[in-house]
Amino acid sequence: MKIFIEKTKENKTLEFSGSAKELLVKLELNPEAVLIARNGALVTLDETLSNTDEIKILSVISGG
């Protein structure tokens, strides 16, 4: 799975399949502070993600 974390501008490649919520736990990210987009479309935390998905973790908090 290819992951881009917007806040830190990090690109990661992970072996992962499971829910979006589980991915956030693995990445140690708070669901209150981020949104998850799979192939450009927002998904809910219960959505099952697969290893072939391209994931973008968007930052919810304001920059200032």
């Binding site: 917007e6 806040k7 708070n30 669901p31 209150e32 502070a33 949104l35 987009a37 479309a41 927002l42 998904v43 809910t44 935390l45 219960d46 959505e47 968007l58 930052s59 919810v60 908090i61 304001s62 920059g63 200032g64």
Partner: protein, 287 residues
Amino acid sequence: MKCSKCENAAIYEKPALCKEHFNEYFEKKVLKTIKEYDLLSKKDKICVAASGGKDSVSLLYVLHKYGYSVEALAIDEGIAGYRDESLEFLKKFCSEKNIVLRIFSYKDEVGSTIDILSKKYSPACSVCGTFRRHLLEKHSKGYDKIVTGHNLDDESQAVLMNILKAQTSLFARQGPKTSSVKGFTQKVKPFYFIKEKEVMIYAYLNGLNVDFKECPYAPQSFRAHVRDLLNEYEAKNPGAKMNIVLHYLKSRNIKTERKEIKTCSKCGMPSSGNICKACRIKAEIKQ
């Protein structure tokens, strides 16, 4: 998860809504706040405090969509590599929507920039906020209202920050609108009850967000610490942010809302009801 209103996939959990129904939910919530708190009228000449971030652009977008007479006012603090991108986005957005945009800079108005002032004032956020409010007030003369993109997260953080610093005098500045004080333009906040996450979703769905860039001075701020604390708590206790602002709104009017004190008919102790809570629980235990 499916949308609670149609067969499409949900993009938000609480409530479960698809893209189309989320947009509807969001806009209804904004319009409801405007109506319930009498924030704006279609006759008002409105000055939107804009930074080019998701909150202010979403605010301009919604108000413009529903026929409010909005103009945008932006402040360039002079923070290299941070503000430039969002201001460019704001210029493009306002040009496309035919919205008047005025930009004032600390460099011209204060004679310095935050990059320079930060060497003397640390953290820079306090002095930055003071100048931003000052310039906003100065350049909004002739408008009926200043509208800001403060959301539920901002407001619950502010309440908590004031409690933690015992700054009760600032409580009067909070709430969905400031009171009308001679010499000041009234400030209103249509996103007062909307979570920051919801604003971000709306901005993303409607192409109103620029890529995230954090102000280099923000991590040092007290607000950033309170924000992270509150996000941790909210994740475990959903509804905490809303409860904080509701508590604030209720406590503002606590004198007028205080119930008459009665005497408990069972034990004779002071009580808000005819039977005090202790006696009600005692009765439950006996059942």
